[in-house]
Each structure stands twice: as structure tokens, then as C-alpha cells.
Amino acid sequence: MSFVSEFRTSITKAIILASIIFIVGCEQSVAPAHKKNSQLLIYCAEGSPITLNPQTSTSGTTIDAASATIYNQLIDYQPGTTELRPSLATEWTIDETGTKYRFKLRQGVEFHSNQYFSPNREFNADDVIFSINRQKQPSHPLHALYGANYPYFKGQGLGTLIRNIKKIDDYQVEIELTRPESPFLSILATPFLPIQSKEYSDFLMQKEQLELFDKNPIGTGPFQYVAYETDSYLRFKRFDQHFAYISPIKNLVYAITPDPAMRFARFSAGECDMMRYPLPVHIKLANQDDSIKSIQTSALNVAYWAFNTEKEPFNNVKVRQALSLAINRKAIIRSVYDNQAIQAEGPLGPSSWAYDNELTSTQYNPEKAKQLLLEAGYSSGFELDIWAMPVQRAYNPNARKMAEMIQQDLLEIGIQSNIVSYQWGTFLRRVRLGHHQTVLLGWNADNGDPNNFLTPLLSCLASQNRSNYARWCDRNFDQLILQARQETSPEKRKDYYIQAQKLFAEAKPWLPIAHTPNNMLIQNEIKGVTLSPLGTLSFEGVHFAQESTDIKKLPDSQKNKQEQL
């Protein structure tokens, strides 16, 4: 009997204790603690970066994590644009052959320090040579570190394009190219060519701890690395000696939340200040809510429907024109993109500096399409396959749905179609081999140069390399983009590109469908966020609204701790 009552009281005690703990715990979170500290910014990220070195990965997650924070390049993009501006290089000159680039380097730039290493010298030419040669030379001590490969560097053929890089003096380097290539400066400004510290590498090599180099990265960027817990968070602190700007953000945390719905829930609950990759429904919700806002910028990407011009009947330009006229792209943008995209008229979007303003729009006109089919000798129609990519991308959130809409539109001009899909890897491999008749795909720019669209997607070389999925090869078009690549004057380049776009519009190897903007959700008290058309992240200029009444000071003991971070 006494046992039972004892047991009962202990259970009751346990329940009471548990509820006390729960209630106390709850009270802690009523106002998320980070709100109390105005200098902590939390960014809700979509995944865990595989590495913190942008040289070794083209994944957007890595780029977002490392290039907005740890590293600087020689050249940089003006925030929110694709215009170049000086970064670690203050000026550059190109000789008359267009192959020798001389860079004057910024003086007095300091590298970060960490628990292993503190730098004894400032940034100089050795670091530039070290960083580029790491990617270029197989004999470089860090080249084969972690079995790294350098997908962007190799993909752009930079290993052969860069003949030589040499030091003129401590603050001047010269890069010699094997051929004139005007997009080279844009390539240098991509996050894939960060400048790393040679001194750090030498130091680690001496201590035989080279494997720490990319795991505890050191750079010159505005934030320095503090800690990374995979699948959980990335933590940075402000680098107070940054050469360009001192951010008002003292501590920066990337809260890794892969599920988009939970990411939005976290954001709405105020657990993070900025959120990347919202779904269309999140943007709608944000527009209805006063405490959060959605910002967007037009992006350099394109979704397209490519016709395999090597196959009958797509080798006939009239058929391609007819198919293009038959598709109601307005409806596609309404239902596939939820109106969060603009209709594309060419490979380049309006945010590119070489965009052709006079490009005439292809109007939806099934009657004219029928007429053209008649002229081409296909009055009774034909059957075709639409290959729809099986994955979701920013430029195409639902290729399957898009294919179904195209299917309906084609029925109206008497064309039967089948939708084909495979697992992503297989899909790409087969499309590269040209097994498709027509395919729905897209492209996201990695540097701001128009060449980044036209050469890989539409040149003859790319039709052999198989990233030109229309397998379209026009010698005049190729000639124009080659001339544009070798020309250094931007006005002349633009002329060439506009002519090339006109050729594209006449030949219609694809039907361009949409350009989608980059979106970000931010809390109202966060100001000064700029989005890049290239989709890269930047915290430059981001600050907290002064008028916000939400900011409370941390107790002194906690504040000191925050400052130590």
C-alpha cells in the first residue's frame, strides 16, 4: 500500500517537474533570442555545402556559403548587376593582342586568422599565382588535395586558355592567354576563382596538416569562418580588417533547413532573417504579410524547348516556326510559373547587357502555324516526342506540366505528341547523344557574359560537345560569336551579339520559354539586400533597420560573449 502511494506521488512529482521544465523552456522562446542581439544575422540555407572551397564545386550551396563570406576574387561584380568592378585587383590593362592581362593588386589587404594560423604578411602577387596554379597545375601541392577536381576551371577550358601567370612585382601579375578571349575578365569575377593564402598553405605543409586548408578556410573576405556542423549550421564572424567594408553584421549564421516548407515556417516564426529559394506560394504569402517582404531581381537564365535540328522534320525551319507559333507561352507562364517569370524571346534575357531590345516577339498564332505546316508539306500533321526534364530547377519548376500544356497546344494544329522522361542522369546522357526529337531544358548563367549562353548552347562546337541540344550549327552565327569573343570593345561586341540573336530568331532552333527571377524573402527590419542576376549571394550593404523597436540589448554577460565570437 505504502509502495503504491509512494509510486503515485513520485509519478505526480515527475509530471509536475516535466511540465515546469516545458513551460520554462517555452518562455525562453517566446521572443527568439537572436532578436535581442541586433548584430546577429541568420540566413536560412537550403542545404549543407559539400566543401567550403568554390574552386572544387559548382554547387550553388557551396558558392553561397563561401564566396559571399570568406573569399574575394581579383575582380568582382557590382552588387545586383553583371558589371565588373575592382576587388583584389585595383586596375587592369589588356595589351593590343588581347592575350596579356596585367593586374595591379590592392595593397594592405589582410588575411583572416584562426586557431592554427595567423598571417605574417599581407596579400600579394604570390597568393594570386598560388590560387590560380592550384587549379591549373597538376604538380601544385594542393591540386590533388582530397582528390579534388576543378569542375568550373576545367569546364571553361581555363587550363589551356591560361598559358602562363607571372609575377611582375609584389603588387603586379600578368596572365598570358593562348588566344584572345574577352569573356576572361567575367570568368575571373566568378566565385570559382577565389584568392587563397599561400602563406597558410606553406604553414600547414610544414606542420603536415594540409588537409585543414579547405576545412578551416582562410581568405580576405568580409566574414571569417568560425564553425561548420554539417546539416545544422555554418557560423561566421565579421572580419574587422576587410579592405572594402565593415558590415554591421557581427555574427552570421547559415541555418541549414533543407525542407522548403519548414524553411518558410522558420522564416515566418522569425528564426531567420533571410530565406533563399522560396516556393511561388511563399512569395504570395510574403506579399500578404506586412512583417516580411519578398525581393526579386531578373536573373540570367532561360528555359527553352529545343528542336533536334538534325532530325526530320525539325531540320525544316518552317516546321520549327510553326511549332513555335503554336505554343501559348502566356498560359505556361501563368500555370507553370505562377506568373513568377517573364516570357523569353531569345537566349539572352533583358538583364544581359547584350540583350536585343528590338527582338520581335513570337506571338501565339495557331492559324499561322497551320499555314506554315501546310507550306512545309505536313498538312496532315505528324507525331513527335517531347522530352521533359525530370528535375525541378529555378528556371523550370515543372517540366512535366509544361510538356502537357505543349501537348494540348500541338493537338490544335493537328500534331500528336508523346511525353518522354528518364531518370536525370540517363536523360542528360541520352539527350547529349541526340536521341530526342524535342526537349525541354534550361540554362543558368555562371558569369555575366553573353558568351556564357551563346557558345555552350548554340555554337557548332557545342553541337559536337553535345551541350547544344538543338544540335544546331550555323557557320555565320559561329563566326559572329567568335568575333565577339575576340573583340575587347563592349560596343562592338554588343553589335555582334545582336546580329547573332537575329540569326537565332530567324532560324528558331529553340522556342525560348521563360526567364525566371531570383527570389529572396527577408524580414522587414533587414535593409539593403541586393540580389545578383547570377544568383550569387552577397551580404554587402545588408544592415538592420535602426528604427526597429524590436531590438533589445543582451544582458552584459551575454553581450561580452557575443563579442568574443
Partner: protein, 320 residues
Amino acid sequence: MLLSLFRILITALVSFLGLTILTFGISQQATTPLHDYQSTHWFPQYFEYLGYLLTANWGNSDLSGNDVFTELLKHFPASIELLSFSLILAIFVGLFFGIMAAKNRGGWLDKGLMSATLVGYSMPVFWWGLLLVLFFSLYLGISPVAGRIDYAYYIQPITRFMLIDTLISNHNYGSAAFFNALNHLVLPAVTLSWIPMAIMARMTRSSLVNILKFEYIRTARSKGLPENRIIWIHALRNAMQSLLTIGGLQISILMTGLIIAEYIFAWPGVGSWLLSSVSRQDYPSIQAGILALSSLVILFNLMLEIMANYLDPRKRRPLS
């Protein structure tokens, strides 16, 4: 006793070997070979693979190049923390509800609890998790949405059990950090434990109802023992038998739930690590994650069987 213990151990070992055959198969998918094998045929290679596993050499990730075993150890504490909380919640609350229902058989409490558990039983983990977040975090605002602790607190990982780290690591946040971590644990643990808790409650109820019909219970009642003592001491002990078996089965349900709950709540455990490895097609990590989670299931079942063996006097009989 010894003989049955031996039998249990052998069964566990066989399941473990079956598991390693599976993970060996997965490890063959890695782009760079996981280990340097001496032999060329797969059969002797398998035994070399076992040797590597036992010496904690589980290979390196295809993508990051990190040692998979270290990565696994990094993610394990978070999972264990969540799992043990959910398990405690599932067992105790489930038992309690089951007993309440059995005591009031046919009453409104019984009916209410049983329909509630039926709802819980049929609720998918991801849906339940989202609902809880919607209600407790977004509507009521009394619980954090995801993560292990508020990022205003920077806790150096020592044991990687957040609750322990907030207590032992050197910081100035006081007990606030501990309670913040505890608060972050509540929603994921409730989400995860819901299904096992419902099953536990239903099982407890049905076996108790059965047992309460037995003669010895009637004897106890006629002896004038208080009802609570009859249920808690006499009936429950017999019900434990079947409950332990059911409990063992719950572990695997808990594991599948774990992967989903970790993904939803951005909980940095083995489950979310496994899931992100799958999406990256990082076979060495997939292999390690599966091996770890499944070994845990085997281990739990082993422990439960030994416990069941101990509790059942018939099985405890010495060799004759």
C-alpha cells in the same frame, strides 16, 4: 538461460552479417573504391570489408573526401538524443494511456483514448510534424520551428549531445541555453514518438484487458488488494511479455520516422545525413548511415529479447 542467450546472440549476429552483405553491395557503387582490397574476387573481398568495418575504417565520402566514420560519429549523438527522448515519451505515455484505458474499459476515457491513438497511429510522421509546427510554433508561438538551439547561443560541441554540452561547456548563457535546447527537442520528439506511443497504448490496453480476466487477478481482487496494485504490479508484469516484443518492432518504425523527423526539423542527426547523402548519391556515406541505423535496430532488439528472457521465468529455467 545460457542456451537461449546464445541463441539470441547468434540470431543478432546473423542479421548483422546479412546487413553487412547489403552495405557491401552499396559500397561497390562508390565511384572510387572504398578500400584497397588484396583479392580480386568479391567473396574474399567481403571478408576484408568486414575487417575494415571492425577497425572503424568505413571509407571516405565520394564528395567531401571526409572519413565516413568520423562524420557518422559527429551525427550520431543528435540522433541518440532525439531517439531516447522519443522512446521514453512513447513508452511511458503509451503505457500510461494504455493502463488508463484498460482500467476504464468501455468508458468514455477508454473510447476517447483509443480513438485518439487510432488517429495518431494513422498519421504520417511528416504530416504530423508540419501540423505541430503550424499550431505550436506559428499559431501559438510557444515552440521553436526547427534546429537544436537558438543561434544566439554558440555552444562549442564537446559530447555533441546538446543537452549535455549546454551544461558542461564553457559559456556565459547560464541555464537559458539548456532550456532553450530542451525546448527545441520537444516538437521533434513528440512528432517522432506519436506512432509508437499510439501502438504502445493500444497494445497495453488489449493485453491488460486480456490479463485482467485471468483467475489469478480474480484471486487478487477477492483477497482485497487495491485495484492499482493489481494493475501496476500483478497484471502489468505479465503484459510486459508481449509489450517487449511489440516494443522491439517499434524500434524500426522509430528509425524510419527518425529519418523523416530529422529532415523536417533540420535536426543534424544520422537520418538527415543519410537522406542528404542519398540525394548526392554519396554511396560510402549511404552505406555507413544504413549500417549504423540498422545496427542500432539490431542492438535494441537484442537488448529487448534479453530483457524478455529475463522477465519470463519459464525461459529463465536452467539447462536440464
